[in-house]
């Protein structure tokens, strides 16, 4: 079974600063995918970024980027130029890969509550 650990229950940062959220995972799988989801106070679950384990290049989406260290089983999220709208709970999630068709379930970490201070 896979486990996902987020060791920072809460973080806060000034607007426009950069913040990094940590995530580690444990798996014996070689084919897997990692995600960061954002859950704002509205409680929606919004996909932020996706990383394929077979890719060495770190994924980026505008102000969001990841530092994927496969050997260390680490998957951190960096938010640059943080904005008030980034205030949310951030969940790291693991998905086992499949080879042909189909999709596996997501296993989530316990989340990091991020507050952007004006």
């Amino acid at each position: 079974a896979q486990t996902v650990t987020q060791s920072q229950p809460e973080m806060s940062v000034q607007e426009a600063e950069t913040v990094t959220l940590s995530c580690t995972y444990d798996t014996s799988e070689n084919n897997y995918y990692l995600f960061w989801y954002k859950q704002p106070p509205s409680r929606q679950m919004i996909l932020v970024i996706r990383q394929e384990a077979y890719k060495q290049q770190n994924a980026t989406e505008n102000r969001f980027s990841v530092n994927f260290q496969k050997a260390a089983k680490s998957f951190s999220l960096k938010i640059s130029d943080s904005q008030l709208g980034d205030t949310a709970m951030y969940f790291c999630a693991f998905m086992k890969g499949v080879s042909n068709f189909g999709n596996e379930k997501l296993t989530f970490g316990t989340g990091t509550r991020l507050t952007i201070i004006p």
Binding site: R43, M45, N103, F108
Partner: protein, 116 residues
């Protein structure tokens, strides 16, 4: 773009009652997942369906059942409701057909179920 639609948004029930939650996936998505998020918790996987067949099962109580219909919408049926069933229930969908494995899951806005 069309998103995952869940209904109702809020539902209040009493203990021992039944509830039905509905999920309409993004058009052309063939896979539906149900997750339960308790207060202050991370989402926990309940069950998933691919092409109207159950594809995986997680920590879903025997009091709960679900199915996916011919139009790909899904319903989660909950009976003998308990106080501990109070949670946010998310439905997510993805397209998982041949050559399209490992796609991201897109979530609906959730149904908040409160048991009195």
């Amino acid at each position: 773009a069309a998103g995952v639609i869940q209904s109702p948004r809020h539902l209040i029930k009493e203990k021992r009652e039944t509830a039905t939650l509905k999920c309409y996936p993004i058009p052309r998505h063939d896979t539906v997942y149900w997750y339960q998020q308790g207060p202050g918790q991370d989402p926990q996987f309940l069950i998933s369906f691919y092409e109207k067949m159950q594809s995986d099962k997680g920590s879903i109580p025997d009091r709960f059942s679900a199915q996916q219909f011919s139009d790909y919408h899904s319903e989660l049926n909950m009976s003998s409701l308990e106080l501990g069933d109070s949670a946010l229930y998310f439905c997510a969908s993805s397209f998982s057909g041949q050559g399209y494995s490992n796609q991201p899951q897109h979530f609906g806005d959730g149904t908040r179920l409160s048991i009195l």
